[in-house]
C-alpha cells in the first residue's frame, strides 16, 4: 500500500530548510509558493526519495490556477501531493521541473497547451495537441464553450 506522508510533518521538514516556502497544508496536500516550487521539489526528490512524478494537473479556479503534483517514491512506496497556486491570469509562469523529472516534459507541455500556464526553464515549451496558431487555452474556465 502506498503510504501518503503526513503533510504537516513534511511541511515542518521543508520549513527548516526553506522558510516561507510552504504557504499552507491540509490533510492531503502541501501548498507551496510558486517561487519556491523548484527548490521544494528538489528537496523532496533528494531527501525523501520521491523519484517518480506520477502526474501533473492544473485546475482553473478563476482567481488562481492550482497545479497539483503527485509524487511517489518507488523505493519506499510513499507519496506526497504538492500543490502550488498561480494568481496571475494573463501570463502565469511557474518553474519547470523537467530538470528534476524527465516525466514532467510532456505533462508540462500539455498544461501549457490546454491551460496556458507556462513553465520557465522547460527545454521545448510549445503546444502539444493543438496547432501553434491556436487562440486561447481550452481548459480554462473562461474559454467559450461551443
Amino acid at each position: 500500500m502506498t503510504t501518503p506522508l503526513s503533510p504537516a510533518q513534511i511541511a515542518r521538514q521543508i520549513g527548516e530548510v526553506l522558510p516561507e516556502a510552504v504557504t499552507d497544508f491540509n490533510e492531503s496536500a502541501i501548498f507551496v509558493s510558486s517561487e519556491a516550487l523548484f527548490e521544494v521539489a528538489r528537496f523532496l526528490k533528494e531527501n525523501l526519495d520521491l523519484d517518480y512524478l506520477a502526474s501533473i494537473t492544473a485546475v482553473d479556479f478563476f482567481e488562481h490556477f492550482e497545479l497539483i503534483y503527485h509524487l511517489t517514491s518507488i523505493k519506499y512506496n510513499h507519496s506526497v501531493v504538492l500543490k502550488t497556486r498561480c494568481y496571475e491570469r494573463e501570463n502565469p509562469t511557474l518553474p519547470s521541473l523537467v530538470s528534476l523529472w524527465r516525466g514532467a516534459d510532456l505533462q508540462e507541455r500539455e498544461v501549457y497547451d490546454l491551460m496556458g500556464v507556462s513553465f520557465s526553464g522547460h527545454p521545448n515549451l510549445k503546444r502539444i495537441f493543438l496547432w501553434s496558431g491556436f487562440k486561447g487555452h481550452p481548459l480554462r474556465k473562461d474559454y467559450p464553450n461551443a
Partner: protein
C-alpha cells in the same frame, strides 16, 4: 571523404506502423537516426473539456473512447475515482466482476500490443491473426456481459451495469483453460525465433533509473526491471486478495517489454481463475442517486491499466458535473523517452521501439 547530408523523413500521421495518427519527424544519417521529434494532436478531441459539461454517469461512455483497446480499464479507473469522491461502497460481487473483466481486458490489450509489435518487426500478420483469434474470444465474453465488443460502458458508479448471464462462467472457464496453451503457442512461434531475438534484444534499452525519472509506467517500466505494479504497490479494489507475480525484465530492451507482456497474460489468467473461484453471490450495484452530486473536493484514483498507471483526477463541486476532469494517460507519458530510445538506432528499430512502447493514440491525444 564522401560528403553526406542528413535526410528528414516524416513518419505519419498516415503510416502503417505508427499505431494511429501519430507522427514522428525523424532525421536520418543514412539509415541511422540522429534526431526524432514526436508530434501529437491529430486525434485530440478535447475529452477533458467535454466531460466538464457531462454528468458523472454520462462520462462513462467517454472514458471508453480514451484507450479504446482497454475500455474496461478506463471505466474501472473512472468509476473508482467517482466512488472515492462521493464515498460510495460497492458490493462484493461487483468488485469481483470488475476484476475479472479488467484482467480479461489486460489479456486482450496485451494480445494486440504483442501482435502489433511483431507486425512492426515485419511478420506478415500471422502472429497478429493468431492473437486476434484469442482476443475475439474475450470480446465474445464481453459482448455476453455488456452487449458491446469495443466500447463496453460496463461499469457504473456503485458497481457494474448488469450481472453476468448464466452462460458466462462456463464460457469463461473454457477460455481460461485453453488460454495458457495458446500462450505456449506464441512462445513456440516467437520466443526462440532467431530473427525476433536479433531484432529486439539489446534494441532501445531503457535503463531503470531513467525509466523512473521519466515517469514511465506499466510494461515499459517493468521491462526495465522495476518491480512496480499498482495492483501490488497500491492495491485498489480487491487486488490484495489474489496471488500473482509481477514479471520484470532484465535489461529494458524491446524484447523485455514484449516478454513482460506475455508473462503478464499468464498472470492475468491466474487472477481470473482465482476471482472466478471466489465469486460471491449478491447485488452488483449499490444504491446511488440517479443524479449524483459529489461533495466539494478532489480525488486522484489510479489503476494499473494494460499500458501503465492510468489515473483520473476529479474535482467535484456539489454539482452533477465534475469541475475538472483530468486523465493521467500512460501512453502519452511513456512516449517522453521515445527520442532517447531511438537515437543511434536504425529506421527499422524506431518502428520496433514504438511498437514495444504500445501506445493508443486516442489516449495520447484525448
Amino acid at each position: 571523404m564522401l560528403k553526406t547530408e542528413p535526410i528528414m523523413i516524416n513518419f505519419g500521421p498516415q503510416h502503417p506502423s505508427t499505431h494511429g495518427v501519430f507522427r514522428m519527424r525523424v532525421t536520418f544519417d543514412g539509415e541511422v537516426i540522429v534526431d526524432l521529434e514526436p508530434i501529437f494532436g491529430y486525434l485530440h478531441r478535447g475529452i477533458e473539456k467535454l466531460c466538464e459539461s457531462k454528468t458523472y454517469t454520462q462520462i462513462i461512455p467517454y472514458t471508453d473512447r480514451l484507450d479504446y483497446l482497454a475500455s474496461m480499464s478506463n471505466n474501472f479507473a473512472y468509476v473508482m475515482a467517482v466512488e472515492k469522491l462521493a464515498g460510495i461502497e460497492i458490493p462484493e460481487r461487483a468488485q469481483y466482476l470488475r476484476v475479472i473483466v479488467a484482467e480479461l481486458q489486460r489479456i486482450a490489450s496485451h494480445l494486440i500490443a504483442v501482435g502489433g509489435f511483431l507486425n512492426d518487426l515485419g511478420a506478415f500478420f500471422t502472429p497478429f491473426m493468431y492473437m486476434f483469434r484469442e482476443r475475439e474470444k474475450i470480446l465474445d465474453l464481453f459482448e455476453m456481459v455488456c452487449g458491446q465488443r469495443l466500447t463496453y460502458n460496463y461499469m457504473r458508479i456503485g458497481g457494474v451495469s448488469h450481472d453476468i448471464p448464466p452462460e458466462f462462467l462456463p464460457a469463461l472457464k473454457r477460455f481460461v483453460d485453453e488460454m495458457p496453451g495458446y500462450i505456449d503457442e506464441y512462445d513456440q512461434l516467437l520466443a526462440e525465433n532467431e530473427i525476433v531475438l536479433a531484432r529486439s534484444k539489446g534494441v532501445g534499452v531503457l535503463p531503470a533509473d531513467l525509466a523512473i525519472n521519466a515517469s514511465a509506467s506499466g510494461p515499459v517500466l517493468r521491462g526495465s526491471g522495476v518491480r512496480w505494479d499498482i495492483r501490488r504497490a497500491d492495491p485498489y479494489s480487491i487486488y490484495d486478495r489474489f496471488e500473482f507475480e509481477i514479471p520484470v525484465g532484465k535489461m529494458g530492451d524491446t524484447y523485455d517489454r514484449y516478454w513482460v507482456r506475455i508473462q503478464e497474460m499468464r498472470q492475468s489468467v491466474r487472477i481470473v481463475r482465482q476471482a472466478m473461484a471466489e465469486l460471491p453471490q449478491g447485488e452488483v450495484r449499490a444504491k446511488v442517486p440517479a443524479t449524483l452530486r459529489p461533495p466539494q473536493g478532489e480525488v486522484y484514483a489510479r489503476i494499473e491499466s494494460p499500458r501503465g498507471e492510468l489515473g483520473f483526477y476529479l474535482v467535484g463541486d456539489d454539482s452533477p458535473h465534475p469541475y475538472r476532469f483530468k486523465v493521467r494517460a500512460p501512453s502519452l507519458i511513456n512516449l517522453t523517452l521515445l527520442r532517447d530510445l531511438c537515437i543511434g538506432w536504425k529506421l527499422a528499430d524506431a518502428i520496433a521501439i514504438l511498437g514495444s512502447i504500445d501506445i493508443v493514440l486516442a489516449e495520447v491525444d484525448r
